[in-house]
């Protein structure tokens, strides 16, 4: 498969085939979803020993579980015997996962097994298997690496994958702005109970590249802006943003989004918000004052976007996480989580929850229109003729510059640019070419590398 014929970074185009073609999709499952760091869930979903929560990594079902020694694990939810989906519950509490098909049983109890997910019980082990089955070799497949980052659980199937911190790079500063407490403490957030899951007939790359800024937002969301869900009242869908909001992307890592030009904590404006709800407004003002005090002398980093490949987050208004699970070349299964300060008063949580649900998710007055667009774009790209014509990503092409204030990032001073879509597609191509992790992390020189198109330097 000639990946470079599908994505032309220098000219800012991408073949429609990558949004509809099954062969390319199969390769994505191998080269991207079996290797990248993927968002699995939140530690609060497995708060107690033996709690489990069934999630997804790409198309694969996985079990997130906390063992009796309080360690969290990510296990492939498929029986090693005949592939049966081992656990058909969305969540629960157990330390023995027994297969409904032939009753192979797997345990996470450290007193019984050396490796969580090991095969412990096989009916007829002595009589029919003659005690010859190598049970240790037939345990559940375990994620090769897993991290708990400020409560969010991430995993990869690839033992050679770069560390999560290196994988995130400078984007970590923005993820922190979503996960850190509003008062500036590290962490301190949790997710509300209940994950919205829904299916839409669009390719997963539409949402992955939608949450990173371009001209779509003003056009797609004109109706919600007119109807008005602004939490301070009036038109629009959110409070007025601080100045210096622009698109930033990490061309070596594939992440990107919209954020604020970094400046000192003291200089960053913290205007009143949620003024329709005095309890929320007062809470947020009090937390913002503490944030400023706690972090004085530091730099304010804040932003939202997509962590390559398929996790997007928003740091406030609404403060959420969405995962775009691939479900075939022309279908995506969305899982949306809502973030909140874990110790916020209940009334504050409730008002924020209401705002989140009216903004995001399938009933969200903003997200509804995105879902319509991604579906129609996917479906109208399936035609025998339509497929031949590439998509255009040339807005702002060749106008990106290094941003010294944000490690590893480039920008062009605008929110409206397709720079970040190209950043994401460049990373997509690097994974799809089958580059190894030394190449992906640029620890070794790469032959025929494709540089990100930057603004030409003026000749003095």
């Amino acid at each position: 498969m000639d990946i470079r014929s599908l994505v032309d970074i220098a000219n800012g185009t991408a073949s429609r085939e990558i949004f509809v073609e099954d062969k390319i999709y199969r390769r994505e499952l191998e080269q991207i979803f079996a290797r990248s760091w993927l968002f699995v869930g939140h530690e609060s979903q497995v708060a107690n020993k033996d709690d489990f929560y069934v999630s997804r990594m790409g198309e694969d079902s996985v079990i997130l579980t906390r063992d009796r020694q309080d360690k969290i694990h990510v296990l492939l939810n498929s029986c090693r015997h005949r592939g049966m989906k081992l656990c058909r519950y969305d969540e629960g509490n157990t330390r023995l996962f027994s297969c409904p098909y032939h009753a192979w049983g797997y345990s996470t109890d450290g007193n019984l097994v050396e490796t969580p997910g090991e095969l412990v019980g096989v009916p007829g082990y002595e009589k029919y298997y003659h005690s010859e089955l190598q049970k240790k070799e037939w345990g559940l497949i375990k994620a090769a690496q897993m991290v708990n980052y400020k409560g969010t659980i991430w995993a990869t199937w690839d033992p050679n994958a770069a560390s999560f911190e290196d994988y995130l790079g400078g984007m970590r500063l923005w993820l922190d702005s979503a996960l850190d407490h509003r008062d500036g403490r590290e962490g301190g957030s949790t997710v509300l109970v209940g994950v919205q899951k829904w299916r839409t007939n669009c390719n997963w790359k539409f949402p992955a590249t939608n949450f990173i800024g371009d001209a779509a937002h003003a056009v797609s969301h004109v109706s919600v802006n007119l109807a008005g869900i602004n939490p301070s009242g009036g038109k629009g869908r959110r409070d007025q943003r601080a100045s210096g909001h622009a698109a930033f992307g990490w061309p070596d890592l594939g992440h990107g989004g919209l954020g604020f030009l970094p400046r000192s904590e003291e200089e960053f404006p913290r205007e009143p918000s949620f003024q329709r709800y005095p309890v929320v407004s007062e809470y947020l003002a009090e937390m913002a004052a503490k944030h400023k005090e706690r972090r004085k002398g530091g730099t304010h980093y804040q932003g939202k976007g997509t962590i390559f490949p398929n996790m997007s987050f928003h740091e406030d208004q609404p403060r959420t996480i969405i995962v775009h699970h691939p479900n075939g070349p022309t279908q995506t299964e969305f899982w949306r989580y809502y973030l909140i300060d874990s110790d916020a008063p209940e009334e504050v949580k409730d008002k924020l929850r209401h705002y989140y649900m009216t903004y995001s998710g399938p009933a969200g007055m903003t997200e509804q229109d995105d879902l319509e667009n991604w579906t129609s774009a996917t479906q109208a790209s399936l035609g025998g003729v339509a497929r031949n014509y590439p998509y255009n990503y040339q807005q702002g092409l060749g106008h990106s510059e290094v941003c010294d204030l944000l490690p590893g990032a480039v920008w062009c001073g605008e929110t409206v640019t397709e720079q970040n879509q190209l950043v994401w597609l460049k990373r997509w191509a690097e994974f799809m070419e089958g580059r190894n992790w030394d190449e992906l992390m640029r620890r070794v020189p790469i032959r025929n590398d494709v540089p990100f198109p930057m603004k030409a330097k003026e000749i003095a």
Binding site: G194, Q196, S220, A227, T358, P362, A363
Partner: protein
């Protein structure tokens, strides 16, 4: 409640439910809003697949006050949804979807125990909401509703509606149509 009052009330409520479906399906959304009280609580909780004991314990649908739902809102938000459709640039509903609300199994809870002229009643029903939009895009929601109605003058208003759909993963691209 006297037998003839019960028969009359049942017929009145069946008519009310049919009218509600007709108003929303014929896109008389503003009149439809008039069937709901200003203190409305409208919720569509999300279901989870749980082991049998969880189902028995009645926690299959996430119904705690701070749980995330498909919808959990009041009249003002419903009005905003109608206003959004009326902008004519709400792409999820432009062109408008065609919907058909089929409401069946209508049952007034504890009908025999009600006074002859009740001011508040609970009505349970089943629904099938079919939606078609553009050329070939279809969504179907099936489930049950628990409605709480209050007598207002010569008619009724819904002041609490809880909608239980049968899906855990919503098999619809969005919920831009009114359920």
């Amino acid at each position: 409640m006297k037998r003839e009052n019960a028969v009359a009330l049942r017929s009145e409520i069946a008519d009310f439910m049919s009218l509600e479906a007709e108003l929303v399906d014929t896109r008389r959304f503003e009149e439809w809003l008039g069937l709901f009280s200003e203190d409305l609580h409208y919720r569509m909780p999300m279901a989870r697949n749980l082991a049998h004991q969880g189902i028995r314990a009645g926690v299959e649908y996430l119904s705690e006050p701070l749980d995330v739902s498909w919808f959990d809102e009041g009249k003002e938000t419903l009005k905003t949804r109608v206003a959004q459709i009326r902008t004519g640039v709400h792409w999820a509903e432009e062109p408008l979807s065609r919907t058909a609300h089929l409401v069946t199994n209508i049952r007034i809870v504890d009908l025999d125990g009600l006074p002859d002229d009740p001011t508040e009643i609970q009505v349970n029903s089943k629904f099938l909401v079919y939606r078609n939009r553009n050329a070939d895009e279809e969504d179907t929601l099936i489930g049950r509703r628990e409605d709480h109605l209050r007598r207002v003058g010569g008619s009724w208003q819904i002041f609490r509606r809880t909608v239980y759909i049968c899906q855990t993963v919503l098999l619809a691209r969005n919920l831009s149509f009114l359920v």
